[in-house]
Structure formats: structure tokens, C-alpha cells
């Protein structure tokens, strides 16, 4: 338990009021239309969605997750957090293509890229899955806050879970994405500054940079300073093939859409940027901030290891960064620290409340139930969806126990079988909706089989995660490639329209030729592309 002085409570209450007011102030803008409620009118300069990318992906569970991998693996654990590097290529490839499509959501993009029943099935599936996933993420992030409040104040976990998410819902319900992005800016700045201050303080407490190095030397653990301390090519707890697999997934994944679960919130930020250029810079720079933040955390957590090297229980060392902050910061600073934690929590909760509601409103209600709905009605449906997501997240949150276990499953396994199809749908004209749909269905079955069922019945051994990825990718491709070739290509009218609007990268020659034949491409481009 941590004792809060008057100054500590002052910081917390002041920040919560400031954040909530900041969100509510944009009520009048948020209620104007669905485009305002979910995309802030598509008019934001790059630095606003950039801070939103950073703030959204800095949640209460993030330092728990980063502490876990750094304490366990040393600085090489940073590569577990490097999956966010998919934005390196995405910012200049799939972001550009997606922004030009103007789709509100990834589900909507499916009906612009594909056509017919297959496209509609994909849209319905992805929309439903995203409503569920956002509720699920809200649950696990909320539960991390519950755990933290239990650790700090001894409150039952449900109090932390419900209190802060409910405060956040006030401004999301009022102003929609305008409230999210404006409070994200404020929360992102506060969070980055406080994370930097606290991490530097913690490094000092652990003995400073040289002190930490000396302590690690004395413990015989100086290998923890090496980000490339691999345990072998395929053997040990940190093999080189895992690292290479991670690099392939993260970097090449940037050509696709949906190769990482973070794509979905990013897609909303991409569409809210006022130009293609703003969209590219927002995604790139928001992720650069995430990478710097992870590096700051990593050093502070290695300092924690130097101080407490004997902790064996995951649940204990996962709290490393929080423990250092709450046990070593001076009075007054502890409240500032907690206020920043509330800020990062609210930014994540608000983003996922609004994102989940956008799929429920735009893709399910508007597209399938009431296409003629007025803008006013759609804004209200957005608010009701937000409320349903909030209540659902309380239910999911109360069902989760091990944060790291869920995160690893979500980050690694759930995307494995659809990683390549998510790239193919962007770069290859012949890949059709049935191929993509079959890859999703195959992945659902294969991931459970390879990861849980077959090892449980001793049909196969428990495989390392990098091997699971490659096996699922190969087995999945045995299903979706035949399905693609045995079914018809997409309707050429739809493909041409999509090509002219989005100018996708990759293998699109037959579509480009058809667009040229119809006179839809500029003569200058025709001449230049004729030889390619």
C-alpha cells in the first residue's frame, strides 16, 4: 500500500478534471456528423493523430508487459516490443493506400477492395470481430488498472476496473473521436514527460548508468546489457530464429493491412488525418515515440533487476516499473506519477471505446440495418454502442487473470495465420475475398490446434512460438491459395475503381491495363508505367 499526501491527491484530481473537461469541450464538434464522431471530420494535422497513436498504445498494462520481458530477458527483451515497427513501412505503403480509400474502418475497406457476397461477409466478420476485440482489450486494460489500484490502495480489483473507465466514457460519449484525440494530445504529452522523468529517477535510484552496469557485472549478469545476446540459432530461451521471425513479421507486415492488431486503431488515426502526407507522418512519428518510450522503460527495469535480481514470480517482476516509481519517488511526485498512469489509462480506454463503437455504427448498424439513417441518428447509435462496449468490458475484465499470457496469445498467435493473406489482399490483384475469408477460418482452427489441442493430447510437442508462426503460415496457405484459384477473380469494375482511387503497390498489372484502356489513368502515367 502507498500513502498519498494532500499534494499527491491534488495532482490526481486536477488531472482527471482537466482531461475530462478537455474532452467534453469538443461536444459541439463531435455531434455534427458520423465523420466527426468517429474521424474528427478527417481534418487533423499530423501531430494530433501522432500523439494519439502514442497515447493509445501506452496503457496501464504496457509497463507491466515491458517489465516482464526486460526482467526476464535483459535488453534483448526490447525485441518483444519491436512488433510496432510494422509502422516503419506501413507509414509509406499501406497507410498511403488506406488513406486514399477513405474507408472509415478496415471492415469497410474490404467492400471497396473486394466485391459481392464474399466482401460483405468479410465486412460483417471483421466488424463483429473488432467489436469483440475492442471490448476484450478494454477488459484487459481495465483489469490492469484494477490490479494496480489493488496494489496501491488495497481496493478490490473491480473498483479500479470500473471507476476510471467510467470517467473516460463521459467525454467519449459526449464528443466521440474529437474528445478522444484532443484529450489524447494532452494525455500523451503528460505521459511522455512523466515516463521520462520517472524512468530517469529510477535509473538514479538503481545507482545510475555506471552503477547498474557495475551491479550487473558483480552478479555475473552483464550479458543483459547486450540486445543481441541470443541463446543459439534455434536453442535456448532467446534463439536467433525467433529474432529473425519477429523482424520479418514486424517489417514486412507494413505492406499489409491487419498484419498486427494495432492496425485497427491506427486505421482510424490514418483516416482522421487531413492529408495523405499527414497520415504517413502521424503513424511514423507516433510509433517512433513508442520505441523511445520502450527504450526508457527497458533501462529503468534493468536497474530494477540490478536491485532485485532474485524475483522468480512473473506477477511480481511484472510490476517492476510501478514498484520503483511508487516506492522511491518523493512525496508529491507519487501523485504526479499516478496522475500520468491515469492519463495513459484514459487514453487507451477512450480510443478503444470509440473504435469499437465505429465498427458497430458504421459497419453493422449503418451498412446492414439502416442505410438511410440520418447523421444525428448515427451519432446517437455511436453513443449507445460506446455504452454497450463499456459494460461488456467490465464483464471481460472480471474474467481475466494473467495479463502477459493473454497479450502473447493476442499479439503472436491470433495474427499468425492471417499475416500473409493480410499482405496479399493489398499487393496482389488476384487474391479474392474467398481466399481472405478462408484464411481467417483456417487460422481460427489452426491456431487452437497447433497451440493448445494437439500438444495437450501429445500428438505434437509444445512448439516454440516462432515455429508455431511458420507452421500456421504454411498450413494456412495450403487452404487459401487453392480457394483463391478455384474461385473467380474479383469483379473488374470494382478492381479498376479501387486501383484508380488507391493506387496500390505490388502486382496489379491486369487491373492497371484495364484502367488505361478505359482512359482512367493520366497519359503521363500511362507512358511511364507502360514499360514497367
Amino acid at each position: 500500500m502507498v500513502h498519498f499526501a494532500f499534494l499527491d491527491w491534488f495532482w490526481v484530481i486536477a488531472f482527471v478534471i482537466l482531461m475530462t473537461i478537455c474532452g467534453i469541450l469538443f461536444y459541439n464538434l463531435g455531434k455534427r456528423s458520423m465523420a466527426d464522431f468517429f474521424l474528427a471530420g478527417r481534418g487533423l494535422p499530423w501531430w494530433l493523430p501522432a500523439t494519439s497513436v502514442y497515447a493509445t498504445h501506452t496503457a496501464t498494462d504496457t509497463p507491466i508487459w515491458v517489465s516482464g520481458v526486460i526482467y526476464q530477458y535483459g535488453l534483448r527483451g526490447i525485441w518483444y516490443t519491436f512488433f510496432s515497427a510494422w509502422c516503419a513501412i506501413s507509414a509509406f505503403a499501406s497507410t498511403r493506400i488506406f488513406r486514399r480509400s477513405l474507408a472509415y474502418t478496415q471492415a469497410e475497406w474490404q467492400t471497396l477492395r473486394f466485391s459481392g457476397v464474399g466482401a460483405e461477409m468479410l465486412r460483417g466478420w471483421i466488424a463483429g470481430w473488432q467489436v469483440f476485440m475492442n471490448m476484450f482489450i478494454l477488459g484487459w486494460v481495465g483489469m490492469a488498472m484494477g490490479k494496480l489500484c489493488n496494489y496501491l490502495f488495497g481496493w478490490p480489483q473491480w473498483i479500479g476496473l470500473i471507476t476510471f473507465s467510467t470517467i473516460c466514457a463521459v467525454y467519449v460519449l459526449a464528443a466521440g473521436y474529437w474528445g478522444v484525440v484532443m484529450s489524447d494530445f494532452q494525455q500523451g504529452v503528460i505521459a511522455f514527460l512523466v515516463i521520462a522523468i520517472v524512468s530517469f529517477w529510477e535509473i538514479g535510484v538503481a545507482g545510475g548508468p555506471h552503477g547498474i552496469i557495475a551491479k550487473l557485472d558483480a552478479l555475473g549478469e552483464s550479458w543483459r546489457l547486450n540486445p543481441f545476446a541470443f541463446s543459439g540459432l534455434t536453442s535456448g530461451d532467446f534463439p536467433l530464429v525467433w529474432f529473425l521471425t519477429m523482424l520479418v513479421i514486424a517489417v514486412i507486415g507494413g505492406f499489409g493491412m491487419g498484419t498486427a492488431i494495432d492496425w485497427y486503431p491506427e486505421a482510424q488515426r490514418i483516416q482522421s488525418a487531413k492529408t495523405v502526407r499527414d497520415a504517413s507522418y502521424s503513424i511514423w512519428s507516433g510509433t517512433a515515440l513508442i520505441i523511445v518510450r520502450n527504450a526508457l522503460w527497458a533501462v529503468a527495469i534493468l536497474g530494477f533487476f540490478a536491485m532485485y535480481p532474485q524475483i522468480k514470480e512473473t506477477a511480481q517482476y511484472e510490476m517492476a516499473w510501478y514498484r520503483l516509481g511508487f516506492e522511491y519517488l518523493p512525496v508529491g511526485m507519487v501523485g504526479l506519477f499516478f496522475a500520468a498512469i491515469v492519463a495513459i489509462h484514459l487514453s487507451t480506454i477512450s480510443a478503444h471505446l470509440n473504435l469499437g463503437a465505429s465498427y458497430a455504427t458504421r459497419d453493422l448498424y449503418h451498412h446492414y440495418f439502416k442505410p438511410k439513417a440520418s447523421e444525428r441518428e448515427l451519432v446517437w447509435v455511436g453513443r449507445i454502442s460506446t455504452l454497450i462496449l463499456l459494460l461488456g468490458s467490465f464483464l471481460y475484465g472480471s474474467m481475466m487473470k494473467e495479463i502477459t499470457q493473454w497479450l502473447i496469445f493476442a499479439l503472436w498467435i491470433m495474427a499468425a495465420g492471417i499475416w500473409l493473406p493480410s499482405i496479399l489482399q493489398v499487393v496482389w490483384w488476384r487474391f479474392n475475398s474467398w481466399g481472405y475469408l478462408s484464411s481467417w477460418i483456417a487460422n481460427l482452427g489452426l491456431s487452437w490446434l497447433i497451440v493448445w489441442v494437439l500438444p495437450e493430447f501429445r500428438v505434437i510437442p509444445v512448439l516454440p512460438d516462432y515455429l508455431q508462426f511458420w507452421i500456421m503460415m504454411i498450413l494456412g496457405s495450403l487452404i487459401y491459395f487453392p480457394v483463391t484459384f478455384l474461385t473467380r477473380p474479383e469483379n473488374m469494375d470494382r478492381l479498376v475503381k479501387y486501383y484508380v482511387m488507391s493506387r496500390p503497390i505490388g502486382w496489379w498489372k491486369p487491373v492497371r491495363k484495364e484502367a488505361e484502356r478505359r482512359g482512367l489513368l493520366d497519359a503521363e502515367v500511362k507512358a511511364a508505367e507502360g514499360g514497367s
Partner: protein
Amino acid sequence: MSWIKRKWTASEADRWTKEDYLVFVISPLIYFLLAIGTMLSLFLLWYGWVILAASLVLLLVMIWIIDPKLKAISLDYEQKQKHYLEDLEKIERWEE
């Protein structure tokens, strides 16, 4: 450095060119160096500072290469966006 094109017409910028492919290589490299450079610099190791500086130099190079092209794409596309949005709403309302 005339090898890098810095003046684009809108239609030229719509094509995927060597400037894009260069950025596809440089951009992940910046993230990679940024992660390692920041960590090692915080330990006050000299090579950490060198790596961090390299990532910042590469960042400037990347912007120098891609920014003119992104500007050209954006300028042209924003003029067409209104028409595209109207089209999108027709699809959404099952009018097309």
C-alpha cells in the same frame, strides 16, 4: 544528388518509385537504431550515442527523400477527395 527526384507532378507521384523503395529500407533501420541507440545512450556508452546520432541523420535523409513526393500526392488527392467521399456514401447507403 540528382538520383533522387525532388520535383514531382501529381501523376508522377502516384507511381511507386525508387524513392519509395529507398524509404522502405531506411525507415525500419531508423526504428532499429533508435531502439538500440536510446537504450545504450542511457547507459552512457559512447557507441550508444553514435547509433542514436546515426538514426537521427537517417531520419533527416528519409524526410528529404520522401517529403516532396508526399506533398505532391496529397495536393492532388485532396482535390479529388470530395467527389470520392460522395461516391463512398452512395455505396454505404446501397445506392450504387
